[in-house]
Symmetry: C2
Subunit: 210 residues, 2 copies
């Protein structure tokens, strides 16, 4: 374990929104019908315990980690069922609420210890994943790579690890298992680091692979 100081926020001040827990994702459909496919999926996916704002570049989602991943998994699953090739870019962020400003008490941490779990989707995914602990003042023995290696070991144990590549770890498996791996890795680092982001690019229904 890393030994730098952590001040846990008092429970009553913790909400996903005031700790900046959220996601942005963009689903790309390689089809002339992309507008209909995306709008239909967005309007048919219930917003359960999440706030969602779609803008011209991406869709922003905030809520608990589990609620965010439920929502995003459900949208991707609906779009993937079109059988078109789709690509998704996903970022998850915690510990930097607001817009540009990151106004949180120094070293405050909230960590959700509930394991993330999704029902199997039947949709195979290949993903390239990066994980970023953004840390300022820590114990000398801290190395941000240790957190990353721990998350990669978790993926290996879970069976979603495919290989390491320049700048990314490649994950493969059911959409649910890949989303669980990414979210759990992000949460593992979030136990000791305030501001943590993670990015992934997913390829689904790719003709390259069939």
């Amino acid at each position: 374990m890393n030994k730098h100081t952590i001040n846990h926020l008092p429970n009553q001040t913790i909400t996903p929104e005031n700790f900046g827990i959220g996601a942005r994702f963009t689903v790309n459909v390689m089809s002339n019908d992309y507008v209909d496919i995306i709008l239909t999926a967005l309007s048919n996916t219930p917003k359960i315990d999440v706030a969602v704002i779609t803008d011209p570049v991406s869709t922003y989602v905030t809520g608990s980690e589990q609620a965010i991943v439920n929502y995003i998994g459900s949208v991707i699953q609906k779009i993937a069922s079109s059988q078109h090739h789709i690509s998704v870019s996903l970022m998850l962020s915690r510990g930097c609420p607001g817009e540009v400003t990151c106004q949180l008490p120094d070293n405050s941490i909230i960590s959700s210890m509930n394991p993330i779990s999704l029902p199997p989707s039947g949709i195979e995914v290949l993903a390239q994943w990066s994980l970023y602990p953004l840390i300022d003042s820590v114990n000398e023995s801290y190395s941000h790579m240790d957190d990353i290696y721990r998350a990669i070991d978790y993926a290996k144990n879970k069976g979603t690890y495919k290989r390491s590549h320049h700048y990314v770890t490649e994950l493969e498996g059911d959409l649910a298992a890949v989303l669980e791996t990414i979210t759990s890795g992000w949460l593992m680092v979030g136990k000791t680091v305030q501001h943590v982001t993670t990015h992934a690019t997913f390829s689904i229904n790719s003709p390259t692979r069939s």
Copy 2:
């Protein structure tokens, strides 16, 4: 300026590849003809001073910062000229060569001080941009947000800044100016931090905007 120790690598040991200077990008074309459009653009773009490897999820590029951005800008410009809606996910990374391992001498920095410059493309872009200094042991006065604010100020001066949003800065303008902003911000942080990554999602020819 941040005051933590920096050991500049001896010049003879510096190559973009051994410092891990590179990019991954995925261009998504919302058209039934996406395979042809992408493969034609990739095969018609000369690989000048870059090494390029395309895999099923993304294209990896390494070389000098300027050579990388020339190549990526040229591929995007060719694909955008199809007039289809396209979305690009881009990551740039420095300071973490190899695959999973980040084997560099501690606190070694190489910084390229040549300003990045691209000819105007005539292609309007809306982008959401994030910048990540990955730092372990620093002076107590260091805040990773300071580097990020400095890069955002640079974008404001350059005229590509549109607004701040949850987790991202929105940039707007010619593809060349937006790529210059992203690459220059990444290089600015790279003057003092070894491992720096940046991510952006671009929207081009979007029907939402017309």
